[in-house]
């Protein structure tokens, strides 16, 4: 479960995230939407411990990310918006590296790696240095790495960037399956069709503030106020 309580992040006098509160229960697929610079990535970076909140609390499965970061992070997997990998490691070595950071046994890592290699169809590339990978291949390896330790909370920033249709389909199915298995999925995206297709609930953020928070049903009702299009709702909420 993910819980944000009055979370604010300021950079000097600029407020990037302004008093956001929300809860993503286990098994829910939550979509976090907003225009560029709205505060989506900043929120995600606070949830993963890369940024410290200026005020407020972020709880992952009941553990405060700031006060008990090790416990909170042990439940989390994060896929950043830019899939940066260690360029002199192979994809397979990177997967082992991540498994080690999550204190997994060697056998369990090896088994899981074989699974994700097959699942994401990266066998041909997995033993090459990642500096040779395309953007899409990096993205696949990054998502595969996020699955190695079977997380309870999955935080993913713009997952479909750089993916071809086949990879995109694999990722969508994987995320849906994880939600069905009880993981909390927090996904930031620009893609309205993907949010509409995958998410149980969505939140719209603008200038660091949460301006809409509702289920697909709420959203459908809201859509009817306009021309029935998700895009119109997005433009209205974020204008």
């Amino acid at each position: 479960m993910i819980e944000l309580r009055n979370v604010t992040k300021k950079f000097g006098s600029f407020t990037a995230v302004d008093n956001i509160s929300l809860v993503v229960p286990p098994g829910e697929f939550f979509g976090f939407l907003g225009p560029n610079g709205a505060g989506k990535t900043t929120t995600i970076k606070m949830m993963t411990g890369l940024f410290a909140p200026t005020s407020g609390e972020i709880l992952i499965n009941g553990f405060d990310v700031v006060k008990e970061p090790m416990k909170a992070k042990s439940y989390t997997s994060y896929v950043p918006d830019q899939p940066f990998l260690y360029d002199k490691l192979t994809g397979r070595e990177f997967l082992y590296f991540i498994g080690g950071l999550y204190k997994m046994e060697k056998k369990a890592i090896a088994r899981k790696i074989e699974e994700v290699i097959e699942h994401f169809e990266i066998g041909e590339w997995v033993d090459k240095w990642t500096e040779d990978y395309s953007q899409g291949m990096r993205q696949r390896v990054t998502i595969a790495a996020a699955l190695v330790h079977e997380p309870k909370v999955f935080i993913i920033d713009e997952p479909m960037v750089g993916l071809d249709p086949k990879s995109s389909k694999i990722v969508r199915e994987t995320l849906r399956m994880m939600a069905r298995q009880g993981a909390s999925i927090f996904m930031s995206t620009h893609s309205l069709p993907i949010a509409e297709e995958l998410c149980d609930r969505v939140g719209f953020v603008k200038d660091g503030r949460l301006v809409f928070l509702g289920t697909q049903e709420n959203l459908q009702a809201y859509k009817q106020k306009y021309d029935g299009k998700f895009e119109s709702v997005f433009l209205e909420l974020t204008k």
């Binding site: 970076k45 993963t48 411990g49 890369l50 940024f51 410290a52 970061p69 090790m70 416990k71 909170a72 992070k73 042990s74 989390t76 994060y78 950043p80 830019q82 940066f84 990998l85 260690y86 360029d87 002199k88 490691l89 192979t90 397979r92 070595e93 990177f94 082992y96 590296f97 991540i98 498994g99 080690g100 950071l101 999550y102 204190k103 997994m104 046994e105 060697k106 090896a110 997995v126 033993d127 090459k128 240095w129 500096e131 040779d132 790495a145």
Partner: protein, 567 residues
């Protein structure tokens, strides 16, 4: 050329904005750098003035011999700039994303080459320019030269000299790329490293300073025959000899010969630059393409290969986190040619130095000279440790790059990766420091009836100096971390790195000033056959320890705190 200047304008703007941004933290950093740089420049000036005065007035060495020493130092400078430019040029001419981007634009290959070549030269040699210029001012002040003479020497002798070194570097690099495409990258770079060491060793075999002093004893120092007798052969036709000859003939008041040698140097530099442009025109783009081919060939690791020590698949007795961090460090280092080849080169240089000083006869019997001789070796050993720490430890945190998210978002205490880097760095600096300490103290122990006190001091000192230098470089490397820069050489020559290096040198100078009195007393007791009072070393040893420990603790705290910053 309009495109060239257009790009240059924006690169300059970018540089100015990043150098003089208006944030308070940058202003403080800038001011700190200015103070330390300024202090170091003043030291370079005073040292050049003092050394010139000492050599020409206190010793029996002539103007000519002194300028031969300057020639040797210029040779070392040439090799340093040359090596630095080869490694930096490889990263910027062949591996830079900026080059890849510019190739997609209507910009000619030659313009891209020229931009990156000048970029390398200016970036990697800025500190050298400053120090060389200040040393020239100090040297010139002794002779009372006018400002325009010094400016002319800087512009028409020393700058072309450094530029010539950079030209040779890029020619070697392009030849290497051609050879590497056929023979493999590691073999070619290994061969180059051996060649460099051979050249340096050969140069000092042929132009040995001690032999030079012995040869000149009893000669008429003002006769031209004296100069001709010594100034012959291949060595007098090297650029470092031309540059030192310019200084020598100016000092002798022979302007015509000075101008002749300066013109010779300038013409060769221009000719070499023309050759560089010609070769680049023919070969740069082709060699850039070649790098992709052999990179693709060499960057695959066979999944079915035999398990080796650092293989991730191999079981380990370490904790999973520690194992992951150590193996990651190993692969990131040893798969990066600019890292391991530089380390191999420095390791060989340390070994050559250690073996050379191990055979020196140091029974000088004059207390002051004995002390100075010891301290020079001591300071040089410290300087080697400083260079190693700067080159390999300072960039360590930054080298995590944007991929650091994977560790920062994992359930991993941030102290762990920091202390893994610390432990590796400490071993890397301590081993050569101990080697140098043992070999440089062995002659003293041998000479003075097997009294091991200096050896104990050497080992104590190697431990604490290595610890402090690694802490300083890792801590301040974390504080000045730049995760966007992927080139370790550029990181090690950045403003923060230079500041750290200068702080390290100040620390070394402080150590020398702490040990100078007890050391003099120790040699006094040996030469005058009275027992050495061990209590005299308690206060200096405590000061040494306190200074090193407090500096280490300060730097490590700064480094650890910097890891808590937003990523």
């Amino acid at each position: 050329m309009a495109t060239f200047f257009h790009i240059l304008k924006y690169k300059f703007l970018s540089f100015m904005k990043s150098t003089f941004d208006r944030r308070m933290v940058s202003a403080v950093r800038g001011l700190g750098s200015l103070v330390v740089f300024g202090g170091f420049a003043v030291v370079a000036y005073l040292l050049a003035f003092g050394v010139t005065k000492f050599v020409l007035e206190q010793t029996r060495l002539s103007l000519f011999v002194y300028h031969r020493f300057i020639s040797m130092m210029l040779f070392v400078l040439f090799v340093s700039v040359n090596m630095g430019n080869i490694i930096v040029s490889y990263a910027t001419l062949y591996k830079s994303s900026e080059v890849g981007y510019l190739f997609t634009k209507p910009v000619s290959f030659m313009q891209i080459f020229l931009l990156k070549f000048l970029d390398n030269f200016l970036y990697s040699s800025t500190t050298f320019f400053l120090m060389v210029f200040m040393a020239l001012l100090g040297y010139g002040a002794y002779f009372g030269y006018a400002w325009y003479t010094l400016l002319a020497v800087m512009l028409f002798v020393l700058l072309p000299y450094l530029f010539l070194s950079a030209c040779v570097a890029v020619l070697i690099l392009m030849s290497l790329m051609k050879a590497a495409s056929k023979l493999g990258f590691r073999k070619v770079l290994g061969g180059l490293a051996i060649l460099y060491i051979a050249v340096v060793v050969l140069f000092f075999q042929v132009s040995n300073p001690v032999t030079l002093v012995q040869k000149t004893q009893g000669m008429d120092l003002n006769a031209d025959g004296y100069i001709k007798a010594l100034d012959s052969g291949l060595l007098s036709n090297l650029p470092n000899a031309w540059a030192s000859n310019v200084l020598f003939f100016i000092a002798r008041g022979d302007s015509a010969l000075a101008v002749t040698h300066a013109a010779q140097l300038l013409l060769v530099t221009i000719a070499m630059f023309a050759v560089v442009l010609f070769v680049a025109h023919r070969f740069y783009y082709k060699s850039w393409l070649v790098t992709f081919e052999f990179q693709a060939r060499s960057n695959t690791v066979q999944s079915g290969r035999r398990l080796k020590l650092f293989d991730f698949r191999k079981k380990s007795t370490l904790s999973p986190q520690m194992e992951s961090l150590l193996k990651k460090e190993y692969f990131q280092f040893f798969r990066d040619a600019s890292q391991w080849i530089h380390l191999a080169l420095m390791a060989v240089l340390v070994a050559v130095f250690a073996l050379s000083v191990g055979n020196v006869n140091l029974k000088l019997r004059v207390i002051t000279i004995q002390t100075v001789g010891y301290l020079v070796l001591y300071a040089f050993g410290g300087f080697l440790s400083c260079s190693l720490a700067l080159r390999f430890i300072f960039p360590a945190v930054s080298m995590e790059g944007n991929s650091f998210w994977s560790q920062l978002s994992a359930p991993l205490n941030r102290k762990k990766p920091f202390f893994v880097k610390f432990a590796i760095g400490f071993l890397l600096v301590l081993m050569p420091a101990l080697l140098v300490a043992v070999f440089s103290n062995a002659p003293f122990v041998r000479t003075f009836e097997q009294r091991p006190l200096l050896m104990y001091f050497g080992i104590f000192s190697a431990f604490w100096v290595s610890l402090t230098l690694v802490s300083l470089n890792l801590g301040l490397g974390g504080y000045f971390a730049n995760y966007k820069e992927r080139n370790p050489i550029r990181l090690a020559s950045s403003q923060g790195a230079t500041l750290t290096f200068l702080m390290s040198l100040v620390y070394l100078v402080s150590l020398v000033s702490i040990v100078i009195i007890p050391l003099t007393e120790y040699f006094q007791s040996l030469f005058q056959f009275f027992p050495f009072e061990m209590s005299t070393i308690v206060a200096p040893a405590t000061t040494f320890y306190m200074l090193s420990a407090s500096l280490s603790a300060f730097a490590l705290v700064v480094g650890l705190r910097s890891l808590q910053r937003d990523f």
